[in-house]
Symmetry: C2
């Protein structure tokens, strides 16, 4: 008789965003006249930039002609995209990354969930708290997380690194030495980040204790401050200890297009074993390449027109972020993030819990955000708003919140 | 110090298709004047059908307008595609599949590699021999295959079901009872299949012994005979024991577009645990939906125009298959497949090994095929040719082979 992967049974039942969806649906049904503004989930709203649309039309056309039709893509990505990534995302930052260290994928969510597969089930992971749930859940499924304690909302075998206003949202080196460290910087959900020299300390720490850093740079395009690294490979020694995940979802609006990439440096080894080779094998066996049309769309993000249009898009969302940040501050809220990331992380007022503030905001302002506690125990008492709405909706939502 | 997933170290070094590529490259370099015809890898060559191109252009257009832009797709696939699948692939065959049993993915290769994740690492798998390498390799990576015996080319903990001319390529119930049974029908690489009543026996067997069947129906569109099932759910009791994987790669030429789906019936349970729920959780955590544009392309395969155009494409490839089959037979070869599948499986002449025949064909006819032994020990002495070339190239290749 076949048996299931019992680790799935350990996962707590309800998922943050489905709980939110249910609450919003119930409120909508009870209050049909109210216009709800959603600043909760991190999905973009601006359409794809013209340079990208043009590239996709062209690629579609190619797929319809026998002479230019493309079948199976190279497992690891087309050369034109891997070269463009090296040329535009790494060379200008002084990072010595070569095309055969770039693995094109269908998005950073998949990569961030899959990357743990090449590591031992016995490894201990460390995550920031609050945290993007996929890092933890994928490790639970692989049997690496131990058991869940419902009361504390933590897993017995996961090392948590609290990031709160008390430590300026800068994770501290954990007491127990982990094997794998997940860092998302600029951070989802807090919208905060750390300086390049602080990141260098993490790289030094990882090299010292023999840990690997899984570095999620999905929000890199939103960095506005000078002393923040755009890639972990700007730090010395990072190629010996770090894997970097990148996404086109937030800088180019590819949430429904699906494209990302992962850098696994050739210097990253466990004894004699190359992790670059392992990830290539994993990619070649369990993945079959990103669509040609989508890879051409990715390439278009690096053309002069594409770059200019995307800078405009990022600026649009960051105008929202500033508006939310400044507006909430002037209304007396304590607010973080929104400078190097499209997320605003606010302290709930009057000692409300995250979910109490969620209900309060939904009922009184008809605005949907995300309760901080949904991202981990240290998120309790915080609340996330995103800058991905339209400017008009963002201002309307803000006006309502100020009027409370 | 972090450790790696040691199972990766068990995988034998070189991969079938990379070995072929190296041999072909070496031959090309040594013989620059020779025109090589590739009937090896299973990639299609016909461009996407007009109805699909039109649907993709329209979807690209939508992505460029704020009013019609689509962000994150539903994890499990858009309703329009899941409903079309039920309506066109299942209802007409009398299979009672509902949309919430359909999981849209980026292709059947990923699904066939990922599906094992929801099962216990202690399960024993059974595969046909020869076999599509992904089934085995993904289980090796998960630690389910035991150790590799280089001499026999087999894994210690895998149950092999030989499919050879002696048993008419019909797998027999194994002596050791497996927990998970992989069946690819019509078969890659042999191009053969079994009757619906033979498949019913497998369903009955699985239900009797408590095994789950992973049923890969990637070549379903090529079925031409009446008594062959187009879905395993045509068999009674299959919803209690079978998962079905489907691909758009071979019926619609989506090898570079990337779309597939998996059916996990709600009746399929391990004790009280629903595998449908488990796969939904896996999809929701480790995947982020297929691209909107690609899902619209999938939908277009079901329109009246799309269907007619794809029937034409399948007929084109099957004309190649017939030409190869008949041509080789008339030249004295013993040939299988090619009736319900785009693959021709031939017995190598003069007791040549598969690789000897590969070299012979490459050097003497400048034709590339795939050595049967690359698919498993029982593939030794066989050779695969595919019908996915152009008709002209296929006839040229055939002429050369006949002239040997």
């Amino acid at each position: 008789m076949f048996k299931i992967n019992e680790n799935y049974q350990k996962l707590p039942g309800s998922y943050l965003f489905s709980t939110i969806a249910k609450k919003v649906a119930a409120f909508s049904e009870a209050n049909p006249g109210k216009e709800i503004i959603r600043l909760g989930i991190g999905d973009v709203t601006q359409p794809l930039a013209p340079a990208i649309i043009e590239a996709m039309h062209k690629a579609v056309e190619e797929m319809g002609n026998a002479d230019t039709f493309r079948g199976y893509a190279p497992d690891l990505g087309y050369g034109f995209l891997r070269e463009a990534i090296v040329e535009h995302d790494y060379k200008p930052r002084g990072c010595n990354i070569s095309a055969d260290e770039v693995f094109v994928s269908d998005g950073a969510k998949s990569d961030s969930a899959n990357i743990q597969e090449i590591f031992s089930a016995g490894n201990r992971i460390a995550v920031c708290d609050p945290v993007y749930p996929v890092y933890v859940d994928s490790n639970v499924m692989a049997g690496r997380a131990g058991v869940y304690h419902g009361e504390s909302g933590t897993w017995s075998n996961v090392v948590y690194m609290p990031c709160t206003m008390e430590n300026g949202f800068v994770p501290e080196f954990p007491k127990e030495v982990p094997d794998m460290i997940y860092l998302c910087l600029p951070n989802n959900p807090t919208g905060t980040t750390i300086t390049k020299s602080q990141l260098q300390e993490w790289v030094d720490y990882a090299n010292r204790v023999g840990a690997v850093i899984i570095y999620d740079g999905a929000y890199e395009a939103y960095i506005s401050e000078e002393d923040v690294a755009h890639s972990i490979y700007e730090c010395e020694g990072a190629k010996e200890c770090a894997i970097e995940l990148k996404s086109y979802s937030k800088n180019a609006g590819f949430t429904g297009v699906r494209l990302g990439y992962t850098i696994v440096p050739k210097e990253l080894k466990c004894g004699e074993v190359s992790l670059n080779q392992m990830w290539a094998r994993r990619h070649g066996t369990k993945f079959n390449g990103a669509p040609y049309i989508v890879q051409r769309a990715g390439e278009a993000t690096y053309s002069p027109e594409g770059k200019a249009q995307l800078e405009g898009q990022v600026a649009y969302y960051m105008k929202n972020a500033s508006a939310i940040k400044n507006g909430l501050q002037s209304a007396g809220y304590t607010v973080f993030g929104g400078v190097n990331a499209p997320y605003i992380w606010l302290k709930t007022p009057d000692n409300m819990t995250s979910w109490e503030f969620f209900d309060f905001l939904l009922e009184r302002a008809n605005v949907v955000g995300t309760p901080g506690s949904g991202f981990g125990p240290s998120g309790e008492g915080y609340f996330r708003l995103t800058a991905f709405g339209s400017y008009e909706n963002t201002l309307t939502a803000l006006g309502r919140i100020k009027g409370l």
